[in-house]
Amino acid sequence: MESAKDYFRREVRWRPLEIAFWLAALLPFVAAPSYLSLASQVAITALFALSLDLLVGYAGLVSLGHAAFFGVGAYSAGLIAKHYWTEPISALFISAMVSGMLGYALSHIIVRFRHLALIMLTLGFGLLVHEAANSASALTGGADGLQGFRVPGVLGFKFDMFGRTAYAYSLLVLFVCFLICRRIIHSPFGLALRGMRENATRMPAIGAPSQAHLRKAYTLSAIMAGIAGALLTHTTSTVSLETLSFGRSADVLVILILGGAGRLYGGILGAIIYMVARDQFSGVNPQYWYFWIGLLLVAVVMFLPNGILGGLAKFSRRTSSTSASARS
């Protein structure tokens, strides 16, 4: 029997497949240079999905208004670039703080509710922020979005027309945020979040300050979503109202469910599949590409309730246990 400390040590160890995955993320630089701007879109969406995974997959909260944080991050970065300075790294931190503060403020209300009320509440807050940005057109540009600025480069590298720098920047930020998320889920707090997901009734009975846990999760998630939004602003030099839209909130939830919630890599895998599918299908038929996404979603939810990654994990467990029994 494996001892308790060995078990926790093994849980945090990097698996070969993980290392292979991050090395593969470098492939677009050499293998598909014409898809680099798509690749940075994927990385940004993956980061957004990763931020939602902290809530949905680990804390067991549902959110239909997560774009509020993405959009607030995007607009913060846009406003800084337009009115103050164009150095992106410091802007990334400030945008993260702005959306984090919004998340912290909202969390005081949100953590008191669960189930349907929680879904409606997050949806409502999402719509509120969207409409606030729409009507404050003097600040945000309203329906036209925020334009008329250009972020020239990052850390001395110029953003080039092929999207090489943009992808390097997005991937690096995604990787750093991923490392933080990975640390979070393997920390005492991460265990407490899984406890909240598994049984919110029991948590107070073992002395857990449940609402404080959820507030913290909400704030951390909002920070990450804000970083993703700011990245989009920096790599595209424009902010559209769409960054705050209900559609974006719904898409990121679909992406996470497709890939598999509660597995860290689920959101990333979901983002790759979703964005590549959108790119390919919308090339074939620009109007009806959502049909295929709908079909994929129905198929995944029906046959792979834990998402594509959950299905793969089950499959690999089954094959490894049959090969183990074949050996013995």
């Binding site: 029997m1 494996e2 001892s3 308790a4 400390k5 078990y7 926790f8 040590r9 849980e11 945090v12 640390r183 979070i184 393997h186 920390s187 005492p188 707090f189 991460g190 265990l191 407490a192 899984r194 406890g195 598994e198 049984n199 009734t201 029991r202 948590m203 107070p204 009975a205 073992i206 002395g207 857990a208 300050p209 449940s210 404080a212 846990h213 913290k216 951390l220």
Partner: protein, 205 residues
């Protein structure tokens, strides 16, 4: 008593003599930190966590480090080892890495107790600890409970009079939410009103 329901009247005090603290208005999780832990009549566990993870979580909550997100779990070896030894003391050593929902019902009842013990309670409230456990297995369960440290006050709710008289040093009989009578097992077994309510029926049958 654990803070889920507001009392209509009266107060709840934890401790002895002058140390007794009024915990009547404390949140449930604060009461746990003061040393009042409970188990549930119906299993209220973490189905997809392992018993080790569940109990380690309770230990970390007690130590107030469950909010730490910047250090990883292997840094807290002592908590892991404590969780392991609590589970071992409840005969759960062989299943610490299994999913809690895969455990036998009786083992899940023990995880209930393990979670409560991990909070290092001064008073442990057991809400029908053997509810739903077959008679022969419940004997083992009560053996384990009887072995628990003697400086721990255990308050258990139980309908099985045999069990009550075997383990209790003080008994409080309640009917319809009100205290009927309080006393030692000897006093209770002699009390006419208790006979009528609980024992009476069996004697009449």
């Amino acid at each position: 008593m654990t803070g889920l329901l507001r009392p209509d009247s009266g107060g709840i005090f934890l401790g002895e003599g002058d140390d007794a603290a009024d915990i009547t208005s404390l949140r449930p999780d604060k009461r746990v930190h003061r040393g009042l832990a409970r188990t549930f009549q119906i299993n209220t566990l973490f189905p997809q966590l392992t018993p080790l993870e569940s109990v380690a979580l309770a230990v970390l909550e007690r130590q107030d480090i469950s909010g730490v997100w910047w250090r990883s779990l292997p840094s807290y070896e002592a908590a892991a080892e404590e969780a392991e030894s609590i589970l071992a003391s409840l005969n759960l050593k062989d299943v610490i890495h299994r999913g809690t929902r895969e455990l036998a019902y009786g083992q899940q009842r023990l995880v209930e107790i393990a979670l409560a013990l991990a909070t290092r309670p001064r008073v442990l409230l057991l809400d029908e600890p053997a509810a739903g456990v077959p008679k022969d297995e419940s004997a083992e369960l009560f053996e384990v409970i009887a072995r628990l440290s003697s400086d721990l006050t255990i308050l258990f709710i139980e309908h099985d009079m045999e069990v009550v008289f075997r383990f209790a040093s003080r008994i409080l009989v309640m009917v319809g939410g009100r205290i009927l009578v309080e006393g030692t097992p000897q006093e209770i077994s002699r009390d006419e009103r208790v006979r009528e309510v609980y024992l009476g029926r069996r004697h009449a049958a």
